[in-house]
């Protein structure tokens, strides 16, 4: 297995800051910003985006986390027992513009599950998608609204987003399996 770093800590940080500006630009003045991170990688990224927004002086940022395990369409094929991390959204999603945050957008199935999970909590006015990496190979008609980096990949490659909160350091790796 070969492995290559495609983003380092500094690049991730810069990319997140740029995504924040895109998000601010796209949101109407009085809407507020609701970030919902998809556990687990997306949850850490959503927290960071929220932090950047707060540092930039935005006070109208809501942050939530979504566990989509119960909504997966591949649950019965997961070889180990999935651990539930729990959904924590302590605001009403009804009528809000929700920005889903994930680390990698790939087949689109996670996003599909996340939309279903979100809609079970209420009726958002709009749902957008932000992803740090878009690696292509969609199997559903889903496109992210905010992308950190587009990485063309082949199907036997694996994208790993490592974050301090979980892995100890920040980087994005591309691994090729034989």
């Amino acid at each position: 297995m070969t492995q290559k770093e495609i983003m380092n800590e500094e690049e991730i940080s810069r990319t997140l800051t740029r995504m924040v500006s895109q998000i601010i630009e796209s949101i109407k003045e009085n809407d507020g910003i609701c970030l919902v991170g998809i556990r687990r990688g997306g949850a850490y990224l959503a927290s960071r985006l929220a932090q950047i927004l707060k540092t930039a002086g935005r006070k109208d940022v809501l942050l939530g986390f979504l566990d989509i395990t119960l909504y997966r369409d591949d649950l019965t094929t997961i070889h180990d027992y999935p651990v539930l991390h729990g959904t924590e959204i302590d605001f009403d999603v009804c009528g809000r513009h929700i920005i889903l945050v994930d680390d990698v957008v790939f087949t689109g199935r996670t996003t599909r599950a996340a939309m279903d999970a979100l809609i079970d909590l209420g009726r958002p006015k709009k749902i957008s998608l932000a992803a740090l990496i878009d690696r292509g190979h969609r199997e559903l008609p889903i496109q992210p609204d905010f992308v950190g980096k587009v990485v063309p990949t082949s199907l036997n490659e694996i994208i790993e987003v490592r974050l301090k909160e979980q892995a100890g350091n920040d980087c994005v790796l591309i691994q090729k399996t034989a």
Partner: protein, 316 residues
């Protein structure tokens, strides 16, 4: 952390890790029960048959709600209105149900060991919803979940189980499971309702109510299981209430924030006085709410248990 068994038959054989996995999963499900839309699609297309050979309202309703909130199709089979009264054997009934391709059986039966017997003779996943005097594992799990929510950590807690220990499957499941998570158990009840060979449980058996309640973090009161007793084991309910009932005064001997629990149905004025059952210290209704979450966890873990292959860690 995993649960790799086909069935959930009892707490006796479960490891600490398996119990914690069930509790952690159940804790996450409590959130779904607070939503407006109390449903997730996880077990869509799975069929759960509640096979109840003994009357039950609470447990059966709880399992039915749990299944429905996971989007499983739940069907109730009650023995009184079924072929069992027409002379069909237990296994024939099970095999007939099995032929309709269900995924999970939730079984209650009046004979100890019958649920295990059914589980050994079917490929369908089986959850024990109470078998005779033997076990009632989901009740033990909801007891522990309720205690954990109130006390934070189970390790080192003093828990008293008071009442008809001999005829209580709830007590038995609690007794097998709780010490495994570091709980110190003490038992108390009329000597006619304490098992003859209680040494196997390795719990302290108290001599009077005061000893049983003193310094306890949690007090679990049990009902007299008249329907399972061969002969009358106490002279009168009045006498029982006097020596074995939990009153406000006796509760004052426990820790100040002691939690009072009861698996239900309560006999008010017998084992539990109304001013205790309805007090702030009562966790009785919380137990019922947690029951749904625990049963969702059990159905979820068994229902998705038929694993078929690889999982793409990178599937986003």
């Amino acid at each position: 952390m995993a649960y790799k068994r086909k069935d959930l038959l009892g707490m006796k054989d479960l490891t600490k890790e398996e119990i914690l996995y069930l509790l952690d999963t159940a804790q996450k499900f409590t959130e779904i029960n607070e939503r407006d839309v109390k449903k997730v699609p996880t077990l869509k297309g799975k069929t759960v048959i509640n096979l109840f050979f003994e009357p039950s309202t609470r447990t059966r309703t709880s399992f039915e709600i749990a299944g429905k909130r996971l989007s499983a199709d739940t069907i109730n089979f009650t023995a009184s209105a079924s072929s069992t009264t027409k002379g069909e054997t237990l296994l024939d009934t099970v095999h007939n149900m099995e032929a309709m391709r269900p995924d999970i059986f939730v079984v209650r039966h009046q004979f100890s060991g019958s649920v295990k017997y059914i589980a050994e003779n079917t490929d369908v996943h089986v959850v024990n919803a109470g078998d005779g005097l033997n076990e009632h594992p989901t009740q033990a799990l909801l007891d522990m979940l309720t205690i954990r929510q109130a006390k934070g950590d189970l390790n080192g807690l003093e828990v008293a189980i008071i009442g008809d220990i001999t005829h209580s499957r709830v007590a038995r499941s609690d007794i097998w499971a709780m010490p495994r998570l570091g709980i110190n158990l003490r038992l108390f009840g009329p000597s006619t309702m304490i098992p003859k060979h209680h040494e196997v449980f390795g719990c302290r058996v108290c001599k009077n109510m005061q000893e049983a309640v003193e310094g306890a973090d949690v007090i679990i009161m049990l009902r007299i299981q008249r329907e399972r007793q061969g002969k009358l084991l106490v002279p009168s309910t009045k006498e029982y209430a006097k020596f074995f009932g939990l009153t406000k005064d006796k509760l004052a001997l426990a820790k100040k924030d002691a939690l009072v629990m009861h698996p239900g149905p309560i006999n008010r004025g017998v084992e539990l006085m109304s001013n205790v059952a309805d007090s702030d210290q009562s966790g009785v209704l919380k137990q019922v709410s947690n029951g749904v979450a625990v049963r969702m966890a059990a159905l979820y873990i068994l229902g998705i248990g038929s694993n078929k292959g690889g999982y793409d860690e990178n599937a986003s």
